[in-house]
């Protein structure tokens, strides 16, 4: 049964002095983690800011968690946690104060806000640094602080704009782990805008690719990974000539890849037995055999190039 969308937009258009930052964007985002991809200037940040009512004078309608957008944008902001891409902070406050302040602005009472701020700074591994002024924080620390601020009012939706920017590999892994935990164990829906494709691949359930203000791709990771026709990737030991001849004789369509692997198209999992049989008959040792998947990089570049050469 399809899940009801958490965000549903229809015909969203935003013009900046004649330039179409968003061009008739219509989207239905389901619960889970959604990757929002696109090259620079594709309209990702404009879409996010429009959702939060930060950008005005746009066309289009929609709903967010059943609330009318943009009519009920104030209530929407109460239910959304936003991690901005920009390096933004309230000068003069300590880490814990700035998280508690955000909690208060989202309606948490003073004491509750402070208690919750301590919980979130611990969850985001900010540690004792939370008592330092945010102006002295490194970029990575500020990312973690912004994440704690986005979470402090326990919103059902999180919009994270480049959350792993400026994090070292360990911290990046930890951040992605937190994102997964929030989605899987706590039922949060997350819109993850990033340039880092491996991040999307590792955590996202669905992907939206924007280019030139339009939605070019919108599907689940599972569907996007599937090749157009069933394909197997095979790596073998030693000479592959005999194996190739055997496959061709059996009617398989085989192409050799740059990394030495063989891509056998038109083969489903049910035909794996035939490939094993040919390998046995040609005395070829198979090192690896797996269903081929489309890479996200390929999908991304295709979508972007289609937008540039429509």
């Amino acid at each position: 049964m399809p899940l009801s969308p958490i965000i549903s937009l229809s015909g969203v258009t935003k013009l900046y002095s004649g330039f179409r930052a968003l061009d008739d964007v219509s989207l239905e985002i389901e619960p889970g983690i959604t990757g929002l991809l696109g090259p620079n200037g594709s309209g990702k940040s404009t879409l996010i800011k429009s959702l939060l009512g930060l950008v005005r004078n746009h066309q289009g309608t929609g709903t967010v968690l059943g609330l009318q957008w943009p009519g009920e944008v104030r209530d929407i902001r109460d239910r959304v946690g936003y991690l901005p891409e920009d390096d933004c902070y309230i000068a003069g406050l300590t880490g814990i104060e700035s998280v508690a302040f955000m909690a208060n602005l989202s309606g948490l009472p003073k004491t509750e806000g402070l208690r919750r701020a301590h919980e979130m700074t611990d969850f985001c591994d900010i540690g004792e640094e939370k008592y330092r002024s945010v102006e002295t924080y490194s970029t990575g620390m500020r990312q973690k602080l912004k994440f704690a601020q986005a979470l402090v009012h326990d919103p059902p939706i999180l919009i994270l704009d480049e959350p792993t920017t400026g994090l070292d590999p360990d911290q990046r892994d930890a951040m992605l782990r937190r994102i997964r935990t929030l989605a899987q164990d706590h039922g949060k829906s997350i819109l993850l805008s990033t340039h880092i494709l491996p991040d999307v691949k590792s955590v996202c359930d669905q992907v939206v690719i924007l280019a030139r203000g339009k939605v070019r791709v919108h599907d689940t990771m599972e569907n996007l990974s599937k090749p157009a026709e069933p394909t197997l990737n095979v790596m073998i030991y030693g000479q592959k000539d005999a194996f190739l001849i055997g496959l061709n004789k059996a009617g398989y369509n085989v192409t050799a890849q740059a990394d030495g692997a063989l891509k056998i198209t038109g083969t489903g999992v049910d035909q794996v037995g035939g490939v094993w049989a040919i390998a046995a008959s040609t005395e070829t040792s198979i090192r690896r055999l797996a269903p081929a998947q489309n890479s996200l990089e390929e999908i991304f570049f295709q979508a972007v190039s289609r937008s540039e050469h429509p």
């Binding site: 800011k49 005005r56 104030r74 902001r77 933004c88 902070y89 003069g92 406050l93 935990t181």
Partner: protein, 322 residues
């Protein structure tokens, strides 16, 4: 690492009403400003001049029954206070001028020490309020919460209102209370009951437009020193311009080739915020405002408030749209 990590936990509770969230903006601003040692020092200094009008009120009240005090007050009214009319009445029927003397002393307190303190205090704190948020892009954090630009402006303005209230309204009311306590006659309350209300009104006239002007300067730039410069320049240049324009005819008198110009000093008063405020405050305290109407000054103050607030609002919205 925390001693005991609870992981992520849901939060269930009742949220505050959206309308009171601007108070948190104000509270946060006040907390931040309060940490500045210089400000605490300035607040203490700003309270010291209260002694002068307090002594004046005490002297007047004593002068009602004591001849020595009366003579001193008469001299003060003829001399530094430039009110010979009151000096005459002080000798004939001192009770009848009680309200006017009190108002004059409290107005003097508002006009001279407190206005200078206000200019200094606002010049120190207001430029930080919005320019810092623009520089550190904090507006993204504010407005991704259920907070409108208007509430943000109210919250930021309330920081200045609070501190200005501490150096104008509060000492003004304290001064009145001191006057009542120092008076030997309780009927003084019946005769001066409206003065606290006038103090509140004068505070509003002083605080609201100056705050709007100060935060509009703060919203102009990400460099708070430019906003400070513009603020002080407005007061200094305004007063200097007013002095030059009103003194020009007098200085030209007697010279051979002087240009005859019909200067209306009351009209030029509007170039100086200090004198514009003075006109309105004098009117609020019910004292002689001269022949010209107070309305041009009130209109100017209202225009500063409305234009300043709209300007800040537009600056914020423009920033968000980038």
């Amino acid at each position: 690492m925390p001693v005991h990590d609870l992981g992520y936990r849901k939060w269930v509770g009742k949220r505050n009403h959206q309308l009171i969230r601007a108070l948190f903006v104000a509270r946060s601003g006040i907390t931040l400003i309060w940490r500045r040692r210089m400000l605490k020092f300035l607040l203490i200094i700003a309270w010291l001049p209260i002694a002068i009008p307090a002594i004046g009120i005490f002297g007047f009240e004593q002068g009602l029954t004591n001849e020595t005090y009366r003579r001193t007050i008469v001299q003060a009214l003829r001399g530094p206070m430039e009110r010979p009319d009151l000096a005459l009445q002080m000798l004939q029927d001192p009770i009848s001028i009680r309200h006017e003397v009190w108002s004059t002393l409290i107005l003097g307190f508002f006009r001279v020490p407190q206005l200078y303190s206000m200019v200094l205090l606002v010049g120190l704190i207001a430029p930080l309020l919005i320019s810092y948020d623009l520089r550190s892009k904090a507006y993204l954090q504010y407005f991704s919460r259920p907070l409108s630009p208007n509430e943000y402006i109210v919250g930021k303005s309330a920081v200045i209102w609070f501190f200005l209230g501490m150096i104008t309204t509060l000492p003004g009311l304290t001064l009145y209370l001191l006057g009542v306590l120092l008076s030997s006659d309780i009927s003084v309350v019946g005769m001066t009951w409206d003065i606290p209300l006038r103090i509140l009104l004068a505070s509003v006239a002083l605080i609201i437009p100056t705050t709007a002007l100060a935060i509009s300067y703060s919203a102009c730039t990400v460099e708070n020193r430019y906003a400070s410069f513009a603020w002080f320049a407005t007061w200094i240049m305004g007063s200097v311009a007013y002095q030059i324009l009103t003194n020009a005819p007098r200085m030209g008198r007697g010279r051979r080739n002087r240009i005859d110009m019909d200067f209306d000093t009351e009209r030029w008063l509007l170039v100086s915020p200090y004198h514009t405020l003075g006109k309105v405050e004098t009117w609020i305290f019910g004292l002689n405002t001269g022949e010209s109407s107070v309305w041009p000054a009130i209109v100017i103050l209202l225009a500063i408030t409305v234009i300043g607030t709209l300007f800040v609002r537009n600056r914020l919205i423009a920033r968000l749209s980038v």
